[in-house]
Structure formats: structure tokens, C-alpha cells
Amino acid sequence: MLTYTIRRFLLALLTVWAISVLAFAIIQLPPGDYVTAYIAQLASSGVDVTPEFAENLRQQYGLDSPIWVQYMKWTQQIARGNFGRSLEWQAPVLDIIGDRLWLTMAVSVSAVLFTWGLALPIGIYSAVRQYSIADYIFTFIGFIGLAVPSFLLALILMYLGFRYFGANIGGLFSPEYQLADWSLGKLWDLIKHLPLPAIILGMAGAAQLIRIMRANLLDELRKPYVITARAKGMSEFRLILKYPVRAALNPFVSTLGYLFPFIISGSIIVALVLSLPTIGPLLLRSLVSQDMFLAGTIVLFLGIMTVIGTFISDILLMWIDPRIRFERRE
């Protein structure tokens, strides 16, 4: 198991390197470069720029050297923790991402907790009591949850919240805390604001997970080992949780890898509608304005998150399913 873990880890490093190449390629993809955009910006504000000045700038930023040299420089800078400056914000990329990263994680983790907390029990119930009235009701709600776009749900909930509860809607903070420094009061304010985006973001996922859990568990419930356990005289509740549910968890764990980038990027549209200060809208804007280093950094982050997520889910899978553990011991 240890050798396997080490091998996976080395493979993960290799993948991260490949992602960094891709992310850099994305930065380089738009026609022109940082200087072109910068000069265009200067020109538009009436400053006359000579070609020599542009040439100097290019040299200064190393943009005249071949692409692979630029890539080496970029990765070297990243290795030192310098992700470059954002063109649009005129500030280091890390400063811009900084706070948003934590807020995004707060929103996404609560959305994931909401999704799992809702979907697992309902999925189990729906499978065990297949074709019961409650199963039909959950199925119905589940399909509605799947069919309604989450931004629409966001709009409706915002309207209802405003109309009937007078809640200040959108964002993650009340106005008085918006620009305040972190304090217990601000944290509490954040916690109060989390449920709405968590529910909206988690709803579609929960609906989907309920279906997956129900289908998985229905498969497992028909396996002979369930009858064996029942023939031992176990109570239904303990039996179902110990045997088929554990087997039905596999697919959940293996999709963990995709959950991690979601935790960082969140849902862009919902974040825009709810004006959440998360990474998603930032990525969108940086792509639109060709803010190369910012976009590249976010893309790199998302890629690394996927790799880490997959790595963790692989390790977890080995832990919950001994068959995988033994297959890979060889």
C-alpha cells in the first residue's frame, strides 16, 4: 500500500507539471501579450508610446525570449511564491485571490456538506423503501431539483427572502461588515449568510446524488451477502448501514476528485447572481479582459485541486474497499 501511495504521489507531481504547461499555454493563447495590452491601455489614456519603450518593456518582462524560457521563468517565480501581477487590478495575483479563496472554500464546503447531508439519508431511504409514497415524493422533488437551473432557484429564493423576510440578500456579508476587518462578528455574519448559497449550490447536486445513491443501493440490496446478513438475525437498520451502504459509497468517494475544483471555483453563474465574492466570477472576468497571469494562476489552482482530490479519493477508496487494496498491493 505504501509503494502504491508513493507511486501515486509521483504520478500526481507529473500531472501537476503537465497542468502547469497547459496553464501557461492558456496564458499565451490570446494574440498579443501583456505589453501589447498594456500599451493599448496607455495609448487609450492618451500617453504616446514609442516602439523603443515597448521593446524595453518586453525585455524587462522577458517577453522577447523564446516561449520555453518564459515558461521556465514563470515556473521559477511560482516556485518562489510569486504568481505575477494582475494586469487589470495592478496588484499581485495572490493578493487578489487571497480572501476570495477562503470565502469560496467556505461557500463550497458548506454546499458539499448540505448536498451529502441531504442526499445520503434520502437516497438510502428511497432505496430501502422503494416505490413507497415517500420514495415517489423524493423522486419528484429530486427531478425538479435537477431540472431547475440553480441561478433561477437563486433568483426565486432571493426574491422570497427579500419579500417575506426582508433579508438583505446577495453577498456573503451584511453591508456593515463588507469592508471591515475580520472579527467574531464578521465571522458570525458570514455563517448567517452561508446557508442560502449552500442550499442553492447544493440542490442540483443533492438531487443527482439521491438518484445515484438510490440506484447503487438498490443494486447492492439484491446481493446475496445482504440475505446472509439478514439470515444471521441482524436488525434491518444496522444491516443496511454496515453492508450495502458501505458498498454503495464507492462511487461517491471516486467522484471526490471533481469536487475539489468545484470547491475552489464554485458555480460562476450562481455566484454572479448572488454577488458572492468567490473565485468563479474572478476567473470569468480575468478571461474576458485577457488578464493572463490571474487567469493562468486560477487555472493552475483548479488543476492542482483536481489532482489533489483524485489523489485523496484514490487513497480513500483503498481504505473503504479492501478489494482495491489487494489488487494494488501486487
Binding site: K223, P224, Y225, I227, T228, A229, R230, A231, K232, G233, M234, S235, E236, K242, Y243, R246, A247, I320, D321, P322, R323, F326
Partner: protein, 340 residues
């Protein structure tokens, strides 16, 4: 009553209510299991053998239900008998009997264990469900059980996963698990079907040896007449959910009464048969469960059917001599008027 049977099944009916109609998987089966005896239930696939076993343990799965009959289990205490068919299928009482007094060995040793837990875990769990013992004690007992069923180096095997064991070993573990709470009745549902012949013989020997030691009753369900001949004291022949013949094993083999039993026995390959001779088979196939024949369920395939009787009246299981019972009009007159 000293000679009262340990388990007596009376007119058991287990039906499955599917969307396509009702499947009468077991439709009026009656038999008795004496203490310390081995009863063999034999029949073709789909005759209701397994459903009978599941019914006794009350673990028939939806949409199946016991719709009639009784399953009387004689208890050790003075309380006398308990009708298993009347118990709440998820209640405490039946759960104490399941695995405790009546244990089940399955036909599929490959899939009958959960791959997620070690065999030790799954046996210890059974012991702790029925007996008030600590983890350590249960584990020691599990090692003893594994040794008893002939698993080499049980103190190491106990921590292995089911997929690390061969089919034969797995079936031994299954038997160890079934025996873990000293059941009074062991139901073995096709215990050797999935195993190769050598292993089959070993498993059957093991079952017999354990039975001699513990004095438990065994219900062995099989389609293999060879297994019946080797194991059973009494035989029950089932066809389409009904018992068509029952009696001691010698009588069943040497003077079978019911045409179905006779046909089954004829279709056993013999090493004395002429080479390349065709094995006699039973003409036709089992009717579709939605499409049960009127009258005797076997009459469309029966070589001795009596036109106007067998396809009209349903025969009942009645004594044909002191030891045997058969459900056939060759031996009885129809008792009821034909259904209008």
C-alpha cells in the same frame, strides 16, 4: 410428546405479487423435520425449494409474502411451539431464531460474504448478535469454529477477506458462521452446487460429521439426487411449489411412487449404463409460473396421466403406505368435485 417433530411446515403458501401477476412459488407445501434428522428437499430449478427455506427464516424478499399455512418450531423451553409464519418478519423474536436456532448456508459461497469485511468480522458479529460474549471471547470462538470446519491456520485466516479464499474454503467459512450459535436446525440451500466434485464430497462429509457431533437437524436443498442419497434420512420431492412425494430415503429411491420422482430417478446418469446411450429426460419443461396447469401441476409432462382426472382435479398429499406419501391420482381418488 417426545417424538414431535422439531419443525413442521403445514400447507405453506408463499406467493410473489409481481406486476405481471401472482407467482405461487410455494403453494401448499407440508413436511416435517425430526430432531437430529436430515431432510432433503429435491426438485428442479424454480420448484420453490429455496423460497421454502427463506420462508422458514422469514426472509422472503418483496414482493413475496407468506399468504397461508403455518411453520411450527418446537422451542427448547416449556413454551411449546411458535408459529414462525405469524411472527413479525423484522421483530426481535424471529431475529433471535434466525442465525440462533435456525441457520442458513447458501449456495453461492462467492457472493454470500460481504467483500468489505474480514471473515472474522462477519462471524464475530453473528456470535455477538446471539450470545452475550465479549469481542475477545467471540474471536477465540471464531478461531475454534474455523478450525472445526477444517480451515488451515485459522488464527491467520480469520483476518482475511472472503476474496482471498477459494470457493471450498469459503463454503467452510459459511458453515462455520452458520454453526457459530449452535443452531438446532441448519438449512443448507444447494451447499455444493457452486463447487467442484472433490470439494463437494468434502463439504458433504463435513456437514455429516458436524451433524453427528452436534445432533442438529439439517434441511438440505438440492437438485442433485446424489447429494440426497448421501445425506438425507427423509426426502421431500417438490414440483411447482408443491410437495409431490415424501418418505424415507430408501423408499424414495427403491420404490418411488409419484411419476415425477420416478422420472427424476431415471434421469440420473449411471456408470453401469451402456456407453453413448441417451439419458432419459423428463419430457417438456417446467411450465411458466404465471401459467400453471389446471389440475395436477405435473400432468402435462406425466407419462401416466389419466385424462379427465389429472387435468381437472388437484391431487393432495396422502399416504400411499406406512412410510410414504404422494400427491397423485394413481393412488387416490379425487376428493373434491371438479371446479365448475
Amino acid at each position: 410428546m417426545i417424538n414431535a417433530p422439531l419443525l413442521s411446515v403445514n400447507n405453506l403458501k408463499t406467493w410473489f405479487f409481481t406486476d405481471e401477476g401472482t407467482v405461487k412459488a410455494v403453494d401448499g407445501a407440508s413436511f416435517e423435520v425430526g430432531a437430529g434428522k436430515t431432510v432433503g428437499i429435491v426438485g428442479e430449478s424454480g420448484c420453490g425449494k429455496s423460497v421454502t427455506a427463506l420462508s422458514i427464516l422469514r426472509i422472503v424478499q418483496e414482493p413475496g409474502r407468506i399468504v397461508g399455512g403455518e411453520i411450527q418450531l418446537r422451542r427448547a423451553d416449556e413454551a411449546g411451539c411458535v408459529d414462525l409464519a405469524k411472527l413479525d418478519s423484522e421483530g426481535k423474536e424471529i431475529r433471535a431464531i434466525r442465525g440462533g436456532e435456525i441457520a442458513l448456508v447458501f449456495q453461492e459461497p462467492m457472493t454470500s460474504f460481504s467483500p468489505h469485511y474480514t471473515i472474522g468480522n462477519q462471524i464475530v458479529e453473528t456470535i455477538q448478535l446471539h450470545q452475550d460474549v465479549g469481542k475477545e471471547e467471540a474471536r477465540n470462538r471464531t478461531i475454534e469454529l474455523l478450525r472445526m470446519v477444517g480451515i488451515p491456520r485459522p488464527e491467520r485466516r480469520i483476518d482475511e477477506y472472503p476474496f482471498e479464499l477459494s470457493g471450498g474454503l469459503r463454503q467452510r467459512v459459511m458453515i462455520a458462521m452458520a454453526l457459530s450459535c449452535n443452531p438446532k436446525i441448519l438449512i443448507a440451500d444447494e451447499p455444493t452446487t457452486a463447487l467442484d466434485v472433490t470439494t463437494q464430497a468434502q463439504i458433504l462429509d463435513l456437514l455429516r460429521e458436524i451433524q453427528e457431533r452436534t445432533g442438529m437437524s439439517v434441511i438440505i436443498i438440492t437438485h442433485d439426487m446424489g447429494v440426497i442419497a448421501e445425506m438425507a434420512d427423509d426426502v421431500i420431492v417438490m414440483y411447482l411449489g408443491r410437495v409431490v412425494e415424501s418418505g424415507p430415503v430408501d423408499e424414495i429411491f427403491h420404490q418411488p411412487k409419484h411419476p415425477y420422482t420416478q422420472a427424476l430417478l431415471r434421469s440420473i446418469p449411471s456408470i453401469f449404463a451402456e456407453p453413448r446411450a441417451k439419458l432419459p429426460t423428463i419430457a417438456g419443461s417446467i411450465p411458466h409460473p404465471h401459467n400453471r396447469p389446471v389440475g395436477c401441476p405435473f400432468h402435462p409432462r406425466c407419462v401416466e396421466r389419466i385424462a379427465g382426472v389429472c387435468d381437472v382435479h388437484a391431487p393432495q398429499l396422502r399416504p400411499v403406505n406406512e412410510l410414504q406419501m404422494a400427491s397423485c391420482f394413481l393412488y387416490h381418488e379425487p376428493e373434491e368435485a371438479p371446479p365448475s
